[in-house]
Symmetry: C2
Subunit: 694 residues, 2 copies
Amino acid sequence: MNKRSMTVLALTASFLLVGIPARAEEGMYLFTNPPTKELQKKYGFRPTADWLERVQKSCVRFGYGGSASLVSPNGLVMTNHHVGRGQLQRLSTKDHDLIADGFYAETLADEIKCPAAEVNILWTIKDVTSQVKSAVKPGMSPAEANKAQRERIADIEQKAEKDTGLNCDVVTLYHGARYQLYSYKRYTDVRLVMAPESSVAAFGGDTDNFEYPRYCLDMSFFRIYENGKPIHNEYYLPWSAAGARDGDLVLVTGHPGRTNRQYTFDHLKFLRDVSYPHYLSYLWRREVQLLNFSERSAENARIASSYLLGVQNGRKAITGMYAGLLDPAVMQKKQREERALRTAVSNNPDWQAQWGDAWDEIAKAEKAHTAMYEDYSMLSGRGSFGGSRLFRIARSLVRMADELPKPSAERLPPYQDASLDSTRLRLFSPAPIYPSLEIESLTSGLSYMAEQLGGDDPMVTRVLAGKSPRERAAELVDGCTLADVATRRKLAEGGKAAIAASQDPMIRLAYDIDPPARAVQKRYEDEVEGVEREAYDKIGSARFAVYGEDIPPDATGTLRLAYGTISGYTEGTTNVPAFTTFGGMYERHADRKGNPAFSLPENWLDGKSKLNLDTPFDFVCTADVVGGNSGSPVINADGDVVGLVFDGNIESLVWDTAYTDHVARTVAVDTRAIIEALRKIYHADRLANEMQGR
Amino acid sequence: MNKRSMTVLALTASFLLVGIPARAEEGMYLFTNPPTKELQKKYGFRPTADWLERVQKSCVRFGYGGSASLVSPNGLVMTNHHVGRGQLQRLSTKDHDLIADGFYAETLADEIKCPAAEVNILWTIKDVTSQVKSAVKPGMSPAEANKAQRERIADIEQKAEKDTGLNCDVVTLYHGARYQLYSYKRYTDVRLVMAPESSVAAFGGDTDNFEYPRYCLDMSFFRIYENGKPIHNEYYLPWSAAGARDGDLVLVTGHPGRTNRQYTFDHLKFLRDVSYPHYLSYLWRREVQLLNFSERSAENARIASSYLLGVQNGRKAITGMYAGLLDPAVMQKKQREERALRTAVSNNPDWQAQWGDAWDEIAKAEKAHTAMYEDYSMLSGRGSFGGSRLFRIARSLVRMADELPKPSAERLPPYQDASLDSTRLRLFSPAPIYPSLEIESLTSGLSYMAEQLGGDDPMVTRVLAGKSPRERAAELVDGCTLADVATRRKLAEGGKAAIAASQDPMIRLAYDIDPPARAVQKRYEDEVEGVEREAYDKIGSARFAVYGEDIPPDATGTLRLAYGTISGYTEGTTNVPAFTTFGGMYERHADRKGNPAFSLPENWLDGKSKLNLDTPFDFVCTADVVGGNSGSPVINADGDVVGLVFDGNIESLVWDTAYTDHVARTVAVDTRAIIEALRKIYHADRLANEMQGR
């Protein structure tokens, strides 16, 4: 046995000992390190370099946060309706609401140019780890090292852009253990080709959001142009002739935004036992409050609608994440993984010395966070003061007056030179402020503060000033002058003296409670945020040292490959099949008559008899996705497209921190539904033929 | 200065020292001890004995929980639509829904007999304190004394019924410091005369419930018959010709159900800081859950509707009660009153020895309650297990099997011989059970339990059995056989052996957690309920010793007199005027078009032009009322009726424990609206003439 095989053996033994975390089909893999072995083992499929290149170059980053794919050699891009929605909004006019009414360009000439669109196609990936790391010289302080690395990254990006003409980004992976240079082909002439009506794209509205079975045609089509003509792209995803079946292997490629898979067991327990229950309680009260407010008049319903949708979306998301963390299988798996990693670290004295304390540091931070949770969330958290815009404006004016006289680096982050413009933009936004909604929100926020901190809490008595929440809210809002942008500007220009002299009750409130609010904010930053940042850097390094690139890095908004199986699931004794059909949509429409979320446009009602009602409509699979994956193509082993990811079920929301395929699923539109609808309902044969290569 | 004036002086000094609690217009007064001095001093009005007799004998107890009044010499009774609703329901047929469609008897012959109605008129009041107290002989144990008093009360009632032919009740006042014999004229032939459509009676539905300004014609009319003919009653409330004006003195007479005005400061703090916030949080989540469930289908909406209404009503009530206790003025007044009373007690060594520890005992009980709050409410509270009916049935079966073999006195209260019939009635009720709602409720309840107790709590892990809340709920409900009444009966007959052998998952769950659930229930009874009962008896005795009958006793569901002023109020800088008008109702109807709670029947839409739109519709006053006062007449100093109480605003809900007239108000229908609607919309001149004495 030579030395080399010893090493291999030692490594193997070490892996056996540590155990690569059993991850089911977990993983948003880098294209530079695809799950070849797993795919080979489980599905007998070995993606070749050509396969990977074709798929990579068929994927499109749509705008800044969405996924999409090329589905013809003529620049045709498929994404979700909800990803393209911003473009539809911008193209809509008073007389033509493209979101509600949909759109189809009968001919190429009818395709409409989107005023501010941008799509990017990832062309090359290059490891630049050593280049970035070599920027750090011995003896540099952490701040100097950070600065040197940031400068080096900027250099690399600039040089690459100059050399290639591509759009270049250095991506930090594994908490800085790896750096990759991603170079994109960027296109800015993007035209709208087709979008269905939003009632079909988002059938079931908020009621069905995150639910399954589902019946959404959440699609839209755009085309990439260059020099006024459609591009001719070598790489694209051919349309699968047969579509997918239950049990099939599928692969999902897209741009997952952010995951927190390295959260420690103690951190997850904090989320489960402190943060999520509190947040849920806040969301329930806010939802009930907004619903009641909305019921009082049509105008109320209008001004509260976007807040209400946000709250309902949040409530579903947190409910799902919470339920996931209550699943003992999820928590036990996390605990096993963590024990294995800590054992591996503690078996290596160097590692132990560098990173060994990180888990206990997180535990300490979460303990500190728990102790300050109510104070922090009531005084500084996002939902504090019921989300009153006037209060936020008042606080911003008070703080700006305090901060601006200081040197930029010593100011609170929003008031440092780099952020000041956007802070001012928000502060002086002329967006209307509705006193009735302000009073309602503030009443709720003040009552919530008392409920959380207790009626005798000094901060509560100070904020309520001897009045009931509703009275105090009405007094603060009715007396507030800050709805007027000119008044805000004047106060901002007047600085500290103007704030001190202001009799505006909201300014006085923000001013009075600023010292304790800053104090708890600082405690949060010092004892929680700062500690977490440092400890997770250590854990990231430890994970990379132990597992290297065998575990994909947390999502970073860049192109990843996930795989899984098309598979229904069981809830209690109820079987939820993998596929739905058009027929199911019509049944649900009939059952929920009168509920506007389940209404259908005329063409769908009239066209029912023309459709094959057994056409597979939506389906679920176990591929690992997260926000940002919307619009991702679902492809089969041949690289043909079989679906279009648009959601996860509520049980999948825990994937933010922990993957499980027990009942959690990714939800996609079936490509057969897309073709059937295009041909029979929209008479869009031009488009269907193009995708089907006819 | 003679001895007598000394005594008077000493008494006066003692009152000055102790201070009769400053009570604004607080008070639900006994007719035997009306607020003569206060009325004389504030309004220059001195009700005579004749005035009081006429008013008393014009008041009607409607059924068991409602108030009403005689408004003509021919037995015409006015009450609320929502008080008469049960009768309307019983009189409705498949083809004629009297609640939705309303009813008017064109002639006397058209008046419809209510199948199971009963009204009572309080005829005489007699103090029987010494008779009841003399039943207790020296040397009796508390239990013997209690039994002797109960027997004496039964004797008094029986004798009085025999002597007078009236319906007689001994009422316990001041926690047993006073006993009064109330004798009622009882009538059982009650006929429906008129009821408007529920959309007008309850205009604004749940949205406007507890709110003000308000636009409800919440009235219904019945007539008392005897020997097949309308009675001719000497006493009734004449219809005021002019109606009432802003600032007028008004008096309210009715049957307030229950108040807790003697709750200690610590008890109120417990409600404010522990009980209400927790309960609100439960209600929010339950409301959101039921709303979401309802949105999923028409059938869901139907089966959840009564639960939803109950939850929304409860949420508003607790919100109002909570906001009231957050008002420092309310709490400070309570504290002042308590200090004064405790000082008076501690200045008298006898009193101090007998009752001095009561306040600290309550404080101890509330501390104990706080410590066990989550455990108790999750395992034994009303909302435990999401209110699942199947779980309650399972628990009842498990406990019945355990309890029945014991002697009755040793069983849990629901299983003692006296309660067993009604427990069985509930247990074997064939009312349908909806699995979908059961799963939804139980999912929510199990999640709530985890949120409150923490994911690692042994009870939580035991109840969830390694599954997520939704999965576990589905498993429990899908596998449960108890929706079938015959299965329940069989299990009940099988006793302990059948329970032990049952594989029903809900039975197994109820069985497994019964020991800890009973343990926390027992702790609650011993450390909270029992201690409170004893301490409040002491405090009641102390209050009576110090203030005698100068403070009216807590409400007991019997006839009381309250007074106040017709008066709007200010919320923030918004003036809420005392009166609304018909015109306001039509404006609100137009503003909330499409909201079914604000729809109006055809006759009101068609009749708009015929109405004087400036007619006063509803109004608010400061008279002290509580649940049970619904249907109470509002009268002026002449004893003429000017209004009909039907609600309190949300701020008045704190009146359960503490009176404040800052913004809290009683809400009534104006009699001018009643006449205008009867004549112009319902063409009910027969009825209007009768009331107006034409």
